[in-house]
């Protein structure tokens, strides 16, 4: 709650919160108010397919080359973006925080093994790797989220570990130990509360990265074919050469994606300045 108040002190953080709030509302109610389904073809009164129509009263944002309503697709895509963002953030932060806590606190060979694992993770180029994995199985939203989690946990783990290392050397930890607290108790009661702010920060960054990576994979054609995401829309538009012919098809998903990602980043940034006042501009 206190973090929220701090974010609101920054104009950019406030703007970010508003934008994300609007997207969140759209994700919930969007599919209810969308005039069409994400894959539904729109027909004219004479039953011909309404292909590549400019934005009009019938289709606010126009239609695609297959006669699908861009506005509706955008609303459905918002839901997909939020699901992917939230789940991949939660997954990666839990995984990363646990690894970081364990490695940093216990040290020794446990630390060595876990850190070498993160090294391996850092050596894997995400997009190419994810494309190969998706080629093996059938593409699905769950798999995309899983891959994003496997890509994002490594940074969180390293940062949390470093934080734990510095916490471990602080007097209050010795004091707790001198007072007879066991490892588990120290870890849960004394160290975890102190790394949680960082975990939240990386969760925010995780939402951003998750949405961006899903969009990138879908744009490359490796997204879930049954989920209409902004990346899927861009992929279809790109394949159909809409950059030349149908700006109304390209801009909405691109702008929505950019807005969402930038808004999350601004929130994360404001929150980060709270954690690390040195970053402050003034």
């Amino acid at each position: 709650m206190q973090g929220l108040r701090v974010i609101l002190r920054y104009p950019s953080g406030t703007a970010g919160l508003i934008v994300v709030g609007v997207f969140a509302v759209l994700a919930v109610v969007g599919p209810l108010i969308a005039p069409h389904g994400p894959f539904e073809v729109v027909y004219r009164a004479d039953h011909s397919v309404l292909r590549l129509a400019q934005p009009t009263g019938q289709a606010w944002f126009g239609t695609t080359n297959q006669g699908m309503d861009v506005f509706s697709q955008l609303l459905w895509g918002t839901r997909v973006a939020l699901i992917v963002g939230l789940l991949s953030a939660i997954g990666s932060v839990i995984l990363g925080t646990v690894v970081g806590l364990v490695a940093g606190y216990f040290g020794g060979w446990i630390d060595e093994v876990l850190m070498r694992l993160t090294d391996v993770a850092f050596g894997i180029p995400f997009l190419p790797f994810a494309m190969v994995v998706i080629s093996i199985t059938r593409p699905s939203l769950g798999l995309v989220i899983l891959l994003v989690v496997f890509f994002l946990w490594r940074t969180t783990a390293r940062v949390i570990r470093a934080q734990v290392l510095s916490l471990r050397a602080r007097p209050f930890i010795w004091a707790a130990r001198a007072a007879g607290a066991g490892d588990l108790r120290i870890l849960v009661r004394h160290i975890t509360p102190n790394v949680l702010p960082l975990s939240f920060l990386y969760a925010a960054i995780g939402v951003q990265a998750g949405v961006m990576l899903e969009a990138a994979l879908s744009f490359l054609g490796y997204g879930d074919p049954n989920a209409m995401s902004w990346g899927t829309m861009l992929n279809a538009a790109f394949q159909a050469g809409a950059m030349r012919t149908a700006w109304w098809w390209v801009l909405p998903p691109g702008i929505a994606l950019s807005l969402f990602v930038i808004a999350i980043f601004m929130i994360a940034r404001a929150y980060e300045e709270l954690l690390n006042p040195r970053l402050r501009v003034i």
């Binding site: 950019s12 070498r116 090294d119 391996v120 850092f122 050596g123 894997i124 180029p125 995400f126 997009l127 190419p128 790797f129 494309m131 190969v132 994995v133 080629s135 093996i136 951003q208 961006m212 969009a215 990138a216 744009f219 490359l220 861009l234 790109f238 950059m243 030349r244 700006w247 390209v250 691109g254 994606l257 950019s258 990602v261 930038i262 999350i264 980043f265 601004m266 940034r269 040195r278 970053l279 501009v281 003034i282």
Partner: protein
């Protein structure tokens, strides 16, 4: 020296892990060479022969060892479909990717450092505000949409610049002839612009914040008291502020490589990322796995380089 040796050994360990993961992945991919080249009408003996040829009848550990050794020695074999060795194909594609990345990186690092140093030095100025805000926006924006956007505007609407490729059809042959041509420069502008607009933000933000830290150091006061010019003092401060940048550049290049796939698709740039996408689509596995391996290896080597370089330029770590 021991530390460097340790790093190299760890790198080998990491490469081995990644190769093992890749071995499993590519074993699991649908279809193997035998089934791809074999059609159903082929007699069993021929299929068997194919399997023998590709070593698919050997025990898995023999196949595994052969795979690791081949990869480690860069023996990637032949492409399934292109009449070339994988190594030749990749060499060409890597060079093309470099032709896009290297100029963009140079511009980003040089100008990013200068802008970041100035922003940090003039703390609180309007220049700092503008630079930081723009950088934050560009840093967080999805660059592949920016790619699409600049294509729409500059190629399709205004028709100022070519919409993709590295050179026009019928352009100069041979890598260096291409690089030397104006045609290549024209093709480089748009993808280069998109790359720079994102990559430049890293050095700007990083150098700015480390500049702020250096600026508060005591030795800056002494330099001023020594009667050095502001410019000399700025050089001292920048030299100190650059230390973290070296590590960052390597990391940034690694990240850039991962996003490279997207830019190469959008701008139809015949680089390694686009080759990977094509190879995966064509089920040309030797090319795909070698491309993935080369990318991973480059990222790992860059990280190693970052560590070693940092040791060289920061006297305190010697």
């Amino acid at each position: 020296m021991a530390a460097v040796l340790r790093r190299v050994l760890l790198l080998a360990l990491t490469v081995w892990c990644i190769l093992s993961i890749m071995f499993v992945l590519f074993k699991l991919l649908p279809g193997d060479p035998a089934t791809i080249f074999v059609d159903n009408n082929m007699p069993m003996e021929m299929i068997e022969h194919q399997r023998q040829l590709w070593g698919l009848n050997d025990p898995w550990w023999v196949q595994y060892l052969r795979y690791i050794v081949n990869m480690a020695l860069f023996r990637f074999g032949d492409s399934f479909f292109q009449n070339q060795t994988v190594a030749d194909i990749l060499a060409e594609k890597v060079a093309n990717t470099c032709a896009m990345i290297v100029p963009a990186l140079l511009v980003s690092v040089v100008f990013g450092t200068i802008l970041g140093a100035l922003a940090g030095w003039k703390r609180g100025s309007r220049f700092e505000q503008a630079t930081v805000t723009t950088s934050l926006l560009l840093h967080s924006a999805p660059s592949f949409f920016m790619g699409i956007l600049v294509l729409m505007v500059f190629s399709y609407q205004l028709r100022w610049l070519p919409p993709g490729g590295m050179v026009s059809l019928g352009g100069p042959e041979g890598f260096w002839a291409m690089i030397a041509s104006r045609d290549y420069l024209k093709h480089l502008i748009l993808p280069g612009l998109v790359l720079v607009s994102r990559e430049i933000t890293g050095p700007i933000l990083l150098v700015r914040s480390s500049m702020l830290e250096v600026k508060g150091s005591d030795f800056i006061d002494i330099l001023r008291a020594k009667g050095l010019t502001e410019r000399r003092i700025l050089v001292h401060a920048t030299r100190n502020a650059l230390l973290p940048l070296v590590t960052y550049i390597a990391v940034m290049t690694g990240l850039l490589l991962q996003g490279q796939v997207l830019l190469e698709i959008i701008f139809a740039w015949p680089g390694i990322g686009r080759e990977l996408v094509t190879a995966l689509g064509d089920l040309d596995y030797p090319v795909a796995q070698a491309a993935l391996y080369v990318m991973a290896l480059v990222i790992l080597l860059l990280n190693l380089l970052a560590d070693v370089l940092y040791g060289l330029i920061d006297p305190r770590s010697r």
